[in-house]
Amino acid sequence: MPRTVALIGTDAIAEAMRQINPDVVPAYPITPQTAIVETFAQMVGDGLVDTEMINAESEHSALSAAIGAAAAGARVMTATSAQGLALMWEMLYIASGMRLPIVMPNVNRALSAPINIHCDHSDSMGARDSGWIQLFSENAQEAYDNVLQAVLIAEDPNVLLPVMVLLDGFIISHAVERLDLLDDRTAKQFIGTLMPRDSLLDAENPPSWGVFDGLGGYYFEFKRAQAQAMINAAAAVRKVAGQYAEISGRHYDFFETYRLDDAELVIVAAGSAAGTIRSMIDDLRAEGLRIGMLKLRMFRPFPERDLVKALSHVKNVAVFDRSDTFAGEMGGPLFVELRAAFYEEEKRPQMLNFIYGLGGRDLSRNLIRQAVDSCKLAAGSNERQKRIIYLGIRD
């Protein structure tokens, strides 16, 4: 029977990991990811899983060990945050380049300096071109559901790419929420058994992995194939979401829309902010404003065409970014990519970018109202508006 439980986000992830029962989990603790590893270590200690757990000496080594184990044919998971993800950077590209279906929850936390342990998306956004599939979660339920789905997405034969499941540090990771867990048998049937391709364990067909590939080699073709795998990933995400809906009753897609159909103004956001925005949409609708929300779940691959289609009727789009590209008045990554997606469209909505919540700064309902006011002002003006607004910045 499915169980309804109250868990903090990190324990929800650990529950998913218990049901997945990965062969190997190498990890190194970092706030706020630590609680995942601790709870999972307890599960290992209690014999609830068969996992070989490796306490690595750094994240660089943790992901290296994950890469070794995955190439050896194991189902592998690890988890990290912020500086840990940054330290993994070299290995991120090796994991995706070697097409290893590793699943890694990343508890989103701001990057140093200054040191800050609280939420923003600068860590995973920094890794957006590393060849990992990236799925955002709005709450603990979605984080749990995403982790289970990530295994099948990663291992899809047309994909074979690592997946990062993103959940907001502290806001999701350390807050208790009500969520529904699959019963163990259903979860295990859904997850199935990994059938590794070209594994080191296959003594009959011994492979070599990640070998030197010089100037006359096939590096370029490898990368083209990798690009294709990421294109293929979109279909896999949708297919796995369909399978998951059958067993859970919970429906996922590339993004979720809320009161979007007749909306003139739409807020686009990812992660836990969506909850606050959704509640604000209801209030603003009651005030007569035709406003809606689009909550992005899948950032990699970027669902360009679907987004354009969903927003084609909209006059104004407010893109909420919880990180900055520091590219010089280009705005946050979500803004940059959404604008690029509309380049070939004849009808383009006016877009403003709201950079919010860096280093854990709270996104209040009042700030959302401020953003909406800015959009209304921009909509009624012919002047070229200031595109990038740092929401709630102190003067």
């Binding site: 603790p29 590893v37 601790e38 270590a41 000496e57 994240e59």
Partner: protein, 247 residues
């Protein structure tokens, strides 16, 4: 009336953020005393770690720089090469120095960088909440070694001082403890020597201070002091591990 006890000048009035019974406070104070006694407060630059001592800059009234996790010896190297007349030290825990930053401390010592490292070893990751460290004792319970450290899978604890002592570049390395007043006095002397080595331009110096973590060890402060003496010292013997120039 003569004042017989006062706050060192190099120490601020910052209220402690450490857990009850933690010995970081004693070690902070000793560093401040050494800075005062050598008259180097205006010339000293400290490099803070990631870990419980991340807020070191709040306690010491000197110039300080924060480093990424484990990278303090490399950051200190950069500072010292630019400002060779300053006294540059790192203050690092065992998670920072003996785990994620092992490469940096080994190579700073191997190069014989004229810096000083205060290495606080409490056999556990303190700040992240009590996970197994490379210094965790065999059989020791932590949140990631629920059945005790298994030496089959996790190996044996690293004796960093002895390891670094094999490097030619290391001039002075000492392991001390702060579990009772007599040892605190000895620890202070070792710190004074280490900073003096640097002041005299003699090369890399490090003092490893065995320290307690009552919160994550799950012990009362007094029990933690006894545990340090009974369990840690046999594995980590207190000694002047290396004194190449007989300072």
């Amino acid at each position: 009336m003569n004042a017989v006890f006062a706050r060192p000048r190099a120490m601020t009035e910052q209220k402690t953020h450490y857990c009850p019974g933690c010995t970081h406070g004693i070690i902070h104070r000793m560093v401040a005393e050494v800075i005062d006694e050598l008259g180097i407060r205006e010339d000293t630059v400290g490099v803070a770690p990631v870990g419980c001592a991340v807020f070191l800059y709040n306690y010491l009234d000197i110039d300080m720089q924060e480093s990424a996790h484990g990278r303090a010896p490399a950051v200190a190297t950069g500072i010292k090469r630019v400002l060779p007349d300053r006294i540059v030290f790192t203050y690092q825990g065992d998670g920072d120095l003996a785990s994620i930053g092992t490469a940096e401390i080994i190579h700073a010592a191997a190069r014989g960088e004229n810096i000083t490292t205060v290495f606080v070893n409490n056999a556990i990751y303190g700040m992240t909440g009590g996970q197994m460290a490379p210094t965790t004792l065999p059989g020791q319970f932590t949140s990631t070694s629920k059945a005790g450290r298994n030496t089959q899978s996790a190996g044996f604890p690293i004796r960093v001082s002895e390891m670094l002592a094999t490097l030619e570049g290391a001039t002075y390395i000492s392991r001390v403890s702060v579990h009772n007043p007599a040892h605190v006095i000895r620890a202070k002397k070792a710190l004074l020597k280490a900073f003096t080595v640097q002041k005299q331009g003699l090369g890399f110096s490090m003092v490893e201070v065995l320290s307690t973590c009552p919160t994550n060890w799950g012990l009362k402060p007094t029990e933690a002091l006894a545990w340090l003496e009974e369990k840690m010292i046999p594995y980590y013997p207190l000694d002047e591990v290396k004194n190449r120039l007989e300072v």
